[in-house]
């Protein structure tokens, strides 16, 4: 699935059918920034070479990450380290991103590209019949009754990693709830002497 994710300030300023340059410029206008100051988060994968080239040509900044699509999307939603996330990724992860958007705000458009009849035939087995469908957060998460939680393992775009202490560890997590949009960031201290063995 090709997806574009932006924060709540640039709400609905993108169109997935438009080229990346236009979307970057629209987001820049919505955020009242120069295009050169907009940061686009992209996965550093071979499939994104053309996308990276196009974003570079329009002058926007690029934040390349090796892996961690959901983290990149959440970084764009919160606007902490990126303004837009663009790229091809797995569809089940998109539902997770949509849950994040329901809880934190932001906007998402996704589209699955089918290159041949074999793809379309297999898609029908997954009950997908509309091959041009643009998925938005409300299509993937239908109501506000959702909560998301995450904990960093290694330092990332969105959360710090686990730090071990002499008798335990410190983790950084976040919890967000769709109904109230409450967003909690936790630093938790674990003491292994008192924890059950997993």
């Amino acid at each position: 699935m090709y997806k574009i994710v932006i924060g709540p300030e640039a709400h609905q300023s993108i169109d997935i059918n438009q080229p990346p340059t236009i979307n970057v410029k629209r987001v820049a206008r919505a955020l009242r920034k120069y295009t050169e100051n907009v940061t686009v988060c992209i996965l550093d994968q071979a499939r994104h070479q053309q996308l990276i080239k196009e974003v570079r040509s329009c002058g926007a900044r690029i934040k390349l990450i090796v892996e961690g699509e959901i983290s990149g999307c959440l970084a764009a939603i919160t606007g902490e380290k990126a303004d837009i996330y663009m790229g091809y990724g797995y569809a089940p992860e998109s539902v997770m991103v949509a849950a994040g958007i329901t809880c934190l705000g932001g906007y998402f458009e996704g589209k699955i590209f089918y290159e041949n009849d074999r793809d379309r035939e297999e898609a029908r087995e997954h009950h997908i019949t509309d091959f041009e469908k643009i998925y938005r957060a409300q299509d993937l998460i239908r109501s506000k009754e959702v909560a998301i939680a995450a904990t960093g393992i290694t330092d990332g775009e969105f959360l710090e990693g686990v730090r071990f202490t002499p008798n335990g560890a410190i983790t950084t997590s976040f919890i967000a709830r769709g109904e109230t949009r409450t967003y909690r960031r936790l630093e938790t201290r674990h003491f292994f002497d008192y924890k059950p063995v997993f």
Binding site: E67, I70, Y90, E93, R142, S143, E145, A150, T154, F198
Partner: protein, 125 residues
């Protein structure tokens, strides 16, 4: 959804993160992924819900331990989504941006979405 289940599932992601962190950088992607999935499964299974696991990307991957279809000790009907270890290659190599995620929602609220295998294969290159 009056109860804030987020406070419950964060305990599962914390345990998953602690499990993965102890194997960070060992270089074995499947071992770290399977252990983390095992840890998050055990913790989510303690919740007082009737949980149905949906949208598991690794469901057809033979090397990966599958999530059980149902989790929880009984209670309201809920849907659960978990990415026990995002960026498992990075975690196994000790690189950045590895995180554990879980989502809980009222039954039927999240869509079940999966693209064809052949489309997914293109993303792996």
């Amino acid at each position: 959804m009056y109860t804030n289940y987020g406070m419950e599932i964060v305990r599962a992601t914390e345990i998953a993160a602690l499990t993965a962190a102890r194997m960070q950088g060992h270089g074995n992607q499947d071992e770290i992924l399977n252990n983390t999935r095992g840890a998050i499964t055990k913790t989510l299974n303690r919740l007082a819900i009737n949980g149905t696991v949906i949208n598991d990307r690794f469901i057809k991957r033979k090397e990966t331990t599958p999530f059980p279809k149902h989790l929880g000790q009984g209670g309201p009907e809920m849907d659960l989504m978990a990415v026990a270890l995002e960026a498992h290659h990075s975690a196994a190599d000790g690189l950045n941006n590895s995180t554990s995620y879980a989502v809980i929602a009222k039954e039927g609220n999240p869509s079940i979405l999966a693209e064809p295998e052949h489309v997914q294969d293109r993303y792996r290159s």
